[in-house]
């Protein structure tokens, strides 16, 4: 049975870490490329499809991108790897869609045009497991981070 003395001995063998140097975080290049591509959405003015669809504001796209960056960074902090990047696309009524379609799961997050509106999400594993709900897109949703990293 370990004794307190033995424990003290173990402590003595442990070097004191003066300063923790985390490995340099690599850039999420996949997300960066998708965000650059998504800027094209801002070229879509009202009735861009000839069917009366709404245009898209920089504010809405920025909120969607902020959401992605925060959740990507959180995923990296927890798992030392970035989650896959979604397709950023035009959603209904000036909203922005963030769509992940993977082999074993799918997730759609919709960021509304209304600055005060809640983002809505739905995802499943093409089977019984699913995740759905709404949240303030300015906050970190750990459920979504976990889903992205699973």
């Amino acid at each position: 049975m370990p004794t307190a003395e033995a424990a003290r001995g173990w402590e003595c063998q442990t070097e004191r870490v003066e300063r923790w140097e985390p490995a340099a975080k690599q850039e999420d290049v996949e997300l960066k490329a998708e965000v650059e591509r998504a800027q094209e959405i801002l070229e879509l003015d009202h009735d861009w499809d000839g069917e009366g669809s709404a245009g898209y504001s920089k504010n809405t796209l920025d909120r969607a991108v902020d959401f992605l960056r925060v959740h990507s960074t959180k995923g990296y902090d927890l798992c030392s790897a970035y989650p896959p990047a979604p397709r950023i696309g035009p959603g209904p009524n000036g909203s922005i869609d963030l769509h992940w379609k993977q082999k074993t799961w799918e997730l759609l997050v919709n960021v509304p045009a209304n600055d005060a509106g809640m983002a809505v999400f739905y995802g499943d594993d093409y089977g019984n497991q699913k995740i759905k709900g709404s949240f303030d897109p300015k906050t970190v949703n750990l459920g979504i981070v976990a889903w992205l990293m699973h």
């Binding site: 094209e40 959405i41 070229e43 879509l44 861009w48 499809d49 000839g50 069917e51 009366g52 669809s53 397709r87 696309g89 035009p90 959603g91 209904p92 009524n93 869609d97 769509h99 379609k101 799918e106 759609l108 997050v109 919709n110 809640m118 809505v120 999400f121 739905y122 499943d124 759905k132 709900g133 709404s134």
Partner: protein, 133 residues
Amino acid sequence: MADALVFPVEEIPDADSVFMRAHETYCRDGEVMPGVFTAKNGGMSVDWDKYSTKEETRQRAKNPAKNGVLRLAVGAIRGIDDLDVQHRPLPTNRAHSEVDLPTNEELTEVRIFLLRIAEVVISLPAGRPPGHA
């Protein structure tokens, strides 16, 4: 002056399909994006295949060259939550029908399921960037 042509409203059987236009902006790498499923003026406009071909649906677009066409089985649509397909003919389009989409947060889930049952029957243009002719 002649009266406007009025078509009777019919019940659409589950075994039939509807066609729907998809603008090239909703295409990425040959795949359709979920934003294509959106309601305009109440419902999501589709054409009943009893009275329209896929090409006729495409030609009803303001710019047909920028649109592909999807086919959705009516029975499969009705199998998604509480969705229904109603025949709502227009004087200029007997095939016109609408899928009544939810207006609350259920819409996000419904769009995923619609995406899974949609079949591309006229390929979308290659997804050129917005604003390009």
